[in-house]
């Protein structure tokens, strides 16, 4: 079965430190990979995606993600965390095929402490 794993329910980081939110996937073929962020009582906001090309993808708000095909991972990173980055982060995978049906991870809550 196709799946996306976000192994950490919560990640705690001090402001100014680098952050990593992990994502691994089990999907056949060459899927598209996405990261979304959700603030309380809001819809999901698209951060970045990987389709092909350079393994390091840059997105909104200073976030980037590194694609590793051999490890089937797509970890989200930021060099210097802000308190305002505190939110719920979702990794998602779009398998090859129709209808743009995403497979989501369970989400990781990021808490950035002053």
């Amino acid at each position: 079965a196709q799946s996306v794993a976000q192994p950490e329910d919560q990640v705690n980081v001090a402001e100014g430190n680098p952050l990593t939110v992990k994502c691994t996937y089990s999907v056949s073929g060459n899927p598209y990979l996405f990261w979304y962020v959700q603030y309380p009582n809001r819809g999901l906001q698209f951060l970045l995606k990987y389709i092909t090309g350079d393994n390091l993808v840059k997105g909104s708000y200073g976030f980037e993600a590194e694609f590793n095909k051999s490890q089937t991972s797509f970890h989200l990173k930021k060099p210097s965390a802000l308190v305002s980055d505190s939110a719920l982060y979702f990794c998602a995978v779009l398998p090859s095929g129709g209808y743009n049906k995403l497979i989501f991870g369970a989400g990781t809550r990021l808490a950035v402490h002053p």
Binding site: P40, N41, G43, K49, K101, G107
Partner: protein, 116 residues
Amino acid sequence: SQTIHQWPATLVQPVGSPLSLECTVEGTSNPNLYWYRQAAGRGLQLLFYSVGIGQISSEVPQNLSASRPQDRQFILSSKKLLLSDSGFYLCAWVGGLAGYSTDTQYFGPGTRLTVL
């Protein structure tokens, strides 16, 4: 400006009452449309998706139904709400519009439903 709209933003309904949530998208034609439910501020469950007017696919058998009466309108309904229907309902779209990718889902602001 907001491209996708959902209303109402919040709703409190008694068990057994009907439900109608609406989602509309602006500025694009023939988008794919999706309804998700998010329980307890966590994972997303895909409920329905639609690739065109009158075309609805159900992902999970349940107390809910969906309809797409117009190209850019997607409605989520129930005849009788259950306590377990409480949650945060999100609509999403994929389609062609300047500034938006055709391979990315974009989400609406959501509707918070509480069933008492």
